[in-house]
Each structure stands twice: as C-alpha cells, then as structure tokens.
C-alpha cells in the first residue's frame, strides 16, 4: 500500500512537472483558441455590430448564407477553383523543380536560392512588382506586346484572367515546398535507383516507379497544408485585386474579412467562419481518406 502511494506520488509529480512546463501553451490554448471557438459559434447565431450588444437571431445568418447570399456562392466558387487548380499547380511545379534541382549541375545552391527567394519576399512587395508586371499599358509583358504591335493581355482587369493571374503569382512564391520536396528526394534510398539501373530502367521509369512512390508521404503533407492554406488565402487576393474585378477574385477569406471589418457584421462573419472550418475539415478528410490508396509508407 505504501508502495502504491509512493508510485502514485512519483507519477503525480511527473504529471505536475509536465503540466508546469506546458502551462504557457495551455493558458494560450484556453484563452486564444478554446474561448474564441466557443464565442464565434455563439456569435454565429447573433447579429452583432460591436456598437450594440449581440442580438440573438437563431439560424437567420445561416439561412441568409445558403439561400440569399449570391456573393457567398461566388466567393466559395472562387476559392474552390483556387484549391482545385492552384494547389495541384503549385504542388506539381515545385515537385518537378525539386527534381530538377536534385541533379548534379553547376551552381546548384545558387539556382536553389533563386527559386526560393520569392517565398521569403514580403507579400506586399511581391504584389507591388506583380501589379507592375501585369500592368495593362506599361507592364513587363504588355509593354513588350504593345511595343511589337500585338494585343495586350488584361491580366488583372479581366474577370476571366484574374484568377489564373493570381495562381501564377501563388505558384511563383511556392519556394518552401521546393525545399521540402528536395529533402524528401534526398531521402529516397540510393539502393533502389541502383537496383533499377541493373534492371535497365530509364530515367522516366525510375522517376515514375521509384521517385514518386517513395515521396508520396511528403506529397500528402504538402497537399494538405496547401489545401488548408489556400482556403484561408487572404493577403494575396486582397492586396492584388481587392477581390475584383467584379468579385472574380473575391476569395472566401476576403469576403469574410469584408463582412467582419468593413461591414461590421460580426455575427454573419462568424457564421461564415464556422462554415469555412467545416468545409476545410471535409476536404481534409476526403484527401486523407484517399491517401490510403496512393501513399506508400516505408514502415509497412
């Protein structure tokens, strides 16, 4: 009995130590995550303009979103477009670039740096340059076209081209994925490549049957984080086009921000936020479930 009490005490003391060290995070978690989660769920059932106390409106916000809000539908559509086209575009581009950079070439670290630079540039600065590159009259591309008598391309002023223009900038700034893929590529066992060479496998075969399968866990990681990040994408569309032209680049987070801090419809925005959470969760689960079929974990 004494022994049991002693061991309880020792274990208890360890738990106390563990909790002591993790307490800063726990405090932050309760104050800045748990409470806001519950509060925003509550606000989503209210109409709240910050000046007056929140008024309960039940499911009115959600009804408004699903039945009457056209911009919600446009914003959601725009965001899904970004996710379905932008995320794979970034992923494939960075994967291919990482493979290219994994080869024995001269000036390898310099070229890697050049690809990585856009991802560490402040978004405000990147946007400024791209605004100037995309400029309809004097931009880098259109100036060249106009100067040679060709028709200019309305990158950011056309509702059709605005989203692809944004995706181009997003892919350009995806340097961190390249670094992650590079690390994963260097982790693929050399032995597999050597064995395949003995069997007479060419470059393409090695790429398709060794490189890709062995890096699928990291691909899943980049895919999931890219998906979650793109759904929350605010800074790029807000700075580049403010959601225009004509809501072509009004992404979900832009619309949410507008409702919260421009219209001060805090209740409505909270409903939008929870809806976003659910949508992200659904997409994440779908991707994760599908991953059992295409991801190869070396430990199995």
């Amino acid at each position: 009995m004494v022994a049991r009490a002693l061991s309880l005490g020792r274990e208890g003391r360890k738990v106390a130590t563990g909790l002591f060290f993790t307490s800063p995070w726990i405090v932050g978690f309760v104050a800045f995550t748990i409470y806001p989660l519950i509060a925003s769920a509550y606000y989503s059932f209210t109409s709240y303009d910050v000046l007056r106390p929140p008024q309960m409106v039940g499911l009115d916000n959600y009804a408004e979103i699903f039945l009457h809000d056209d911009i919600f539908r446009i914003a959601l559509g725009n965001t899904v477009y970004f996710v379905l086209i932008g995320v794979p575009a970034s992923l494939i581009t960075s994967f291919l670039l990482a493979n290219l950079l994994n080869n024995d070439i001269w000036g390898r670290s310099l070229s890697r740096t050049l690809f990585f630079l856009p991802s560490i540039t402040p978004a405000v600065a990147s946007v400024m340059v791209w605004l100037w590159i995309y400029n309809t009259q004097f931009g880098l591309i259109n100036g060249f076209l106009a100067g040679h008598g060709m028709k200019v391309i309305p990158w950011l002023s056309s509702t059709r081209l605005a989203k692809p223009s944004l995706i181009i900038v997003q892919v350009w700034a995806e340097g961190s994925s390249i670094v992650i893929f590079l690390a994963a590529l260097q982790d693929v066992p050399r032995m597999l490549y050597e064995a395949s060479l003995v069997d007479g496998a060419g470059r393409l075969r090695r790429f398709w049957h060794i490189t890709i399968p062995m890096t699928t866990p990291v691909v899943l990681f980049v895919l999931l984080t890219g998906l979650i990040g793109t759904f929350q994408s605010f800074t790029l569309p807000w700075l580049l086009t403010r959601g225009g032209p004509n809501y072509a680049t009004e992404l979900y987070s832009v619309y949410l921000y507008r409702n919260a801090f421009v219209f001060f419809k805090m209740g409505y925005a909270s409903a939008l936020a929870w809806l976003l959470f659910v949508i992200i969760a659904i997409f994440s689960v779908v991707v994760f479930r599908s991953s059992a079929r295409w991801v190869y974990y070396r430990t199995e």
Binding site: T121, V124, M128, F138, G147, A269
Partner: protein, 311 residues
C-alpha cells in the same frame, strides 16, 4: 587466337588485350564527355528557369532606378539610363518609413523573444519529461495547427477590444509568449534527439528541471532555436493581415502596411515617378529579409525540413 590460349596471366598484355583496353578507354572518355555535356545542358535549363523566377526582382530594381519618361517606355527598357538613385531617398520620405521600420522592429523582436522563450519551455515539457497524458496533449497541439485562423479571428478581435489593446502591438506580441504550435513541434523533435543520459546525469547531480533546460538543453539546441528565431522574425516582418486587423493609426503601421499605404496614396494622386518610387520602396522592404537569408542560408533550409519531413 594464339595469345588467348595461354593458361597463365601475362606480365605484359598481348596485342588483343591492348586493343581491347584502348577501346574501352575510348568508350569511357566518350561516356565522360556525354555526361559532362548532359550536365551542361541541364545546368543551362535549370538556370533558364530560375532566371524566369528571378525576373520580377530584376524588374523591380530596374524600374526603381528609372526616370519619368523611361518608366512608360514601350517596349519596356531593362537598363535605365540615366540611373536615378534619388528615387530611393525620395521613396523613403513619401510616407514615414523610419517610423514604420521602428514599429516593425519592435514587433519582430518582441514576438521573436516571446516565441523563443515559450516554445522552448513548452517543448521541454513535451520531450524531456516522461508524464502520463503527454502525447495526448501533444496531439491536441498538432491539431490546432489545422484550425483556420478565421474561426478565432473575430472573438480575438473582440477580446482585445474589451481589453483596450486595439491599436497597439499587444495583440500581436503577447500571444507569442504562449508558444507557437509549429515551433513547439520543431523544438520537441529536436529536443528528442538529445540523449536522455545527459538529463539523467544532471538530475543525479541535483539539478532542477529548469536547471536542466537552461544548462543542458538550451546550449545544445542553439541551431534549432536559431531557426525558430529566424522564421518568426521573417513572419513578423512580412505580416500584413495581423497588423491590418488590430492597428488603426497610421503612426503605428509596420513597413508592410506602410508600403500598402504608399500604394493607395500614390494611386490617387497624379504624382510623377509613382512606379519607380513604389519599386524602390518595395526593394527596401525586401532587402533586409533577403540579406538575412543569405547570411543564414543553411540554418534556413535545415529548419524547413526539420518539421516538414522528419515529423
């Protein structure tokens, strides 16, 4: 033939043997040339692509040094002549960049100190102490990384509004003292690689847990700590949305918002040299981070891969 029918190896190779050796040497040389040619072709291809990626920066600097008529030249000019260096000091006084830089540094340094201290402290609890419920709590920490910011954004704003912290940097700096899930994760992984014998030895010598953290773990974890300081500093420098939500007075703006303010202002006023000034300001905002990266390159790449892959 006659030479190949000998049972014993010869001290000097026969004629057939010599011609075979010469032939295989020639094949090896050709293979070497082909390999080098292949390497050159690949190098050129990769550099061509990387130049495309780097082009916007060249365009940024090129535009920033142009004079008025040259900016609007069609087709676009790459090399300005004359080179107008005055664009840079002019751009810096367009809006109070000195003040904004000061604000940014206060934000970056304050947040980085908070994040480094708290994340190391918390990561210690997840890696150097064996306690029941440790892993469960850690999975919750990881789970929060997937939570979209928008779901917490509005109540956070309202909390800080109630506290009177709006229009200050407190909402951006204080929470960093409660640790960041991403950095806690990274440090935990790193701390786990430090042998437990070191902690045990210190414990036997009567050191407290905090003592072990300070005297054993932290000195060994300096590379990882450097990584999180670097990443956090960069995130704060580049942060636009955070300051956008919490700050009202232009006097409190960080340089990210200052640059945006400059763009909004210059677009509405028909001032000359708008674009060169904007490009100069953009270059100034970008340069410190680029320099920081160059001087800490290896740390950077190690940091991204520490959690990206090995987690």
């Amino acid at each position: 033939m006659a030479g190949t029918q000998q049972a014993l190896p010869l001290a000097r190779p026969g004629a057939q043997e010599r011609s075979w050796q010469a032939a295989s040497a020639a094949v090896r040389r050709r293979r070497g040339v082909v390999r080098t040619a292949g390497k050159l072709a690949l190098t050129l291809f990769v550099f061509a692509l990387s130049v495309i990626f780097f082009l916007p920066f060249v365009w940024m600097v090129s535009t920033s040094l142009k004079t008025d008529p040259q900016v609007y030249h069609v087709p676009p000019l790459w090399i300005p002549s004359p080179v107008r260096w005055a664009n840079y000091p002019e751009a810096m006084t367009y809006v109070p960049f000195g003040l904004y830089l000061n604000n940014t540094l206060k934000y970056c340094i304050g947040s980085t100190v908070g994040v480094a201290l708290s994340s190391a402290f918390v990561a210690y609890g997840f890696s150097r102490v064996q306690w029941k419920g440790r892993n469960t709590l850690f999975y919750i920490v990881l789970g929060t990384m997937m939570l979209p910011f928008q779901v917490r954004m509005i109540p956070l704003y309202l909390i800080f509004h109630a506290l009177g912290w709006l229009n200050t940097y407190l909402p951006l700096v204080v929470p960093s003292f409660t640790g960041s899930a991403y950095f806690i994760f990274l440090l935990r992984q790193f701390f786990l690689t430090i042998p437990t014998e070191l902690s045990d030895a210190a414990r036997i010598d009567g050191s407290s847990e905090i003592g072990i953290l300070l005297r054993v773990i932290v000195p060994l974890a300096k590379p990882a700590l450097a990584v999180i300081c670097l990443f956090n500093f960069m995130d704060c420098w580049n942060d636009y949305m955070g300051p956008l939500i919490y700050l009202r007075d232009t006097a409190k703006y960080p340089i990210a918002m200052g640059l945006e303010q400059m763009r909004n202002h210059s677009m509405s006023v028909a001032k000359p040299l708008v674009w060169p000034h904007l490009m100069a300001a953009s270059a100034v905002v970008t340069l410190p981070i680029v320099l920081l990266y160059f001087f800490t390159q290896r740390t950077f790449v190690e940091g991204i891969t520490l959690t990206g892959v090995k987690g």
